[in-house]
Symmetry: C2
Subunit: 480 residues, 2 copies
């Protein structure tokens, strides 16, 4: 049977094939085998999304955001109201033109993003300064027809995400919101997914269509490509003016409001898979693992009952300590088969328990992420496992951070830029700020300007391309 | 300003207008003012949906169901694989025919329901008996183009719902699932929404297209129309055969599996509004109220500080007891204005606190649902409020149940049937089981057969229409 075959591609040799096999064979997702680039989430995959959602939703509610629901259909007349925005999305919009057997007059777009619909609503809902700030988030999906290079979680025609849309009385307040959200994203991605990220501003060329500026979180994947993990946009008054989002201030003067929008998608799951997994399959950070611990009993016919009894005791003890635990007592499979099966699924900790272990009042604890094993005392299983889960979560982040730090390389010569890029590095260099240089670099090397980092050390060098001075730090890499 | 005007229609005189005003003015939802019959949920409305989802999701997970994600686009070739099913949905399907500027070959339907896509997937995922039962639920939205008689929550072209799809090894197990879900729905609707329901089987005519039979939950709204609150379908092997959902049993014999599907939608929120609300606006059961208690301080300039201080103490005390509480300290509105405002929004309990109350070491507690007031001791506010919230929740159900019971009328003569129907009653009568009588009754009175109730007392009478014997109990009413 297919699903009993493990990963047959190597992460080092064929990253792309390896990635797809991990996603499909670990049963996180499957192709809908219908429209190109459309996936379904199986329960393990959706469970990871639920955990991310729960963690992020909590942080958003604590900072005064509330959730709402928006319809997926947006009439063309709305979408086209902010021109640049519309032109940016138009090529990838799905259009509904019929209902039943009848043609529809005004074409309906499947939401590529909801700024236009939201702005129409906000212009109705906001009257005075007391209605501000208005901070609403929407957990839904967006649709953008992707034809080429589709990849589960990374590039699909429909994707789960959240889109937040806020309105503020002042520019300052809106800009603070942009940064608050960026920090909430960073915390979630680093603490839950154990992926280190670099934050910064996108260049003019790559900002969100319609925004004043876009901030983003970037990480570098093991194949040397950067992955954008989320964005938080300052919209200024670019939408409030065409959509007439105005409020009366305390002196009853009518003023255009200031806006932000921001989102992260299930692309985060793709980043997590690429960052942590290996040739045996998925490696999950404990906080997001649907099952955190699997117990594999090792027994012969004679001692089956006794071993299963002990295994169940461990299961109950972990369960009552809020560990998500499963006992694999299938009789038709060998322990070896089970080891492979659960390693493929990325379960953080495996406990092995056999007659010899019981005799020594211990069990074997095996860590998925670094393939190490330890004997642990039966009397302290629950305590040990809880600490270990926390430790694994932290260590996975520390390891990934170390790798990222090593792979961001400071260069001052263009020749070196090109060499290091070929080595799969992210390039930290000086840039004059002109799109001409950005375009030339892209054309000649394939690298995009990922972000102008917020915490980049300001080194006063000349632009890596044109050698002019008056530069800023910028990070370049090939991207997804 | 519009929102400062309360409900201007009366529930008794113009139910339909009253309903729409309650939904819009209490800010649960708004029209997207775009496509006909499309609404958005504002934060208070979405919060109610979140609470329903949370409660139901917990019960589903406890009974071994897990969640997944399905794409909204379904190719026509899939949808048409089960013929009756396709014909049933076809008139209301939205079709995507273009992406960007290019036509799409195979038209893509916006999911009216996902049986066909799910079956295609399940046929891949299921191999042996160990893969069963497979019980996956999907929280998403469905789209059915509604042109006429659209109404927020009750009839909209896109609606939030959950759709569960399960596969079982035996018919018995599948039929037990159908009933388990029906009971979970009943518990949720009665205990959370405080709406009493009657469960039973739909007639052949009204069953889900493609099902063997459909079970449903029905309630009677104050305007005398029945509202279907949810359905749980036994699909038999009607889908497993065309979609080849087969498994190898323990003897390695290939067998077609047995299936169920079931769903409830945000229509539940519509039922809750109609059942409990009144001419002052929304009335929310405490369990689903985004805010359960609002504190209104009553003060003059001199004692403002002191009163607000006391009000905040109450707020903190309730908050720390997990009561969702808000203090309305807006200075620009009178207490009277605030009373109306929060009554419109259906907050279960209002606490009034003024200098006279403090002097007597008490506050006034006003209940939204029955408009009664009591003085309660300041020393026991938290304790009293917690008990009162439970009491209100129960009493709202008891009241609604009493009304429902009174309005289900047993009749044995067709003349009486017609008269009671005009009085807004649900008719409990005997029926021969033939669709001819069901159709004639519909034609002559407008009443549908809502369900053959599961707990109907079997009265051996002749059919209300044809007077033949060999009857079953059936409930008739006009419906939404």
């Amino acid at each position: 049977m297919n699903k009993e075959v493990g990963i047959t591609a190597s992460k080092n040799d064929d990253f792309s094939e390896w990635y797809t096999q991990v996603v499909i064979k670990s049963e996180l997702a499957d192709y809908a085998k219908t429209t190109s680039g459309v996936i379904v989430l199986r329960p393990d995959g959706y469970s990871i999304w639920e955990s991310i959602r729960e963690s992020l939703d909590k942080k958003l509610k604590e900072t005064g955001h509330r959730n709402g629901f928006l319809p997926v259909l947006i009439p063309e007349s709305f979408l086209s109201k902010e021109k640049k925005h519309f032109e940016g999305f138009n090529p990838e919009v799905y259009w509904v033109t019929q209902s039943g057997d009848k043609p529809i007059g005004d074409r309906l777009a499947l939401r590529p993003t909801s700024e236009t619909l939201v702005c129409m609503l906000y212009s109705k809902w906001i009257e005075g300064w007391r209605d501000l700030p208005l901070k609403i988030n929407f957990w839904n999906s967006a649709l953008r027809a992707e034809i080429t290079d589709t990849r589960p979680f990374l590039r699909t025609s429909e994707f789960l995400w959240q889109e937040g849309h806020t309105v503020h009385a002042t520019q300052d307040e809106a800009e603070n919101e942009v940064m608050e959200i960026l920090n909430i994203y960073k915390k979630t991605i680093e603490e839950e997914l154990a992926i280190p990220v670099i934050t910064g501003k996108k260049s003019e060329k790559d900002k969100f269509v319609g925004a004043v500026y876009t901030t983003a979180l970037e990480s570098l994947m093991p194949d040397g490509k950067a992955l954008q993990m989320g964005t938080s946009h300052f919209l200024g008054q670019n939408f409030s003016k065409p959509f007439e989002i105005k409020y009366n201030d305390e002196n009853n003067v009518e003023t255009y409001a200031w806006q932000t929008s921001w989102g992260v998608s299930w692309r985060l799951i793709g980043g997590m898979i690429m960052t942590h997994s290996d040739d045996k399959g998925l490696v999950l950070p404990p906080k997001l693992a649907p099952i955190q611990v699997v117990i594999i009993p090792i027994y012969s016919k004679e001692d089956r009952e006794k071993i299963i009894l002990e295994a169940n005791k461990i299961k109950d003890s972990l369960s009552s300590n809020n560990v998500r635990v499963e006992l694999d007592d299938r009789d038709n499979h060998t322990p070896g088969f089970k080891f492979n099966d659960w390693e493929l699924k990325g379960i953080p900790i495996r406990i092995e328990i056999g007659p010899k272990d019981i005799a020594k009042n211990q069990v074997v604890m095996a860590r998925r992420y670094n393939q190490t094993k330890d004997d642990i005392s039966l009397d302290k299983v629950s305590e040990t496992i809880n600490l270990e889960l926390e430790n694994i979560q932290q260590q996975m982040f520390v390891n990934a951070k170390k790798i990222l730090d090593e792979r961001v390389v400071r260069v001052s010569e263009y020749q070196q830029f090109k060499e290091e890029l070929k080595n799969g590095k992210m390039i930290d260099c000086s840039w004059c700020g002109n799109q001409t240089c950005e375009d030339k670099i892209k054309e000649e090397t394939g690298a995009d300007l990922r972000v102008v980092p917020f915490d980049g050390t300001q080194k006063s060098e000349t632009c890596i391309y044109c050698k002019n001075s008056g530069t800023t730090n910028a990070l370049f890499a090939k991207g997804y």
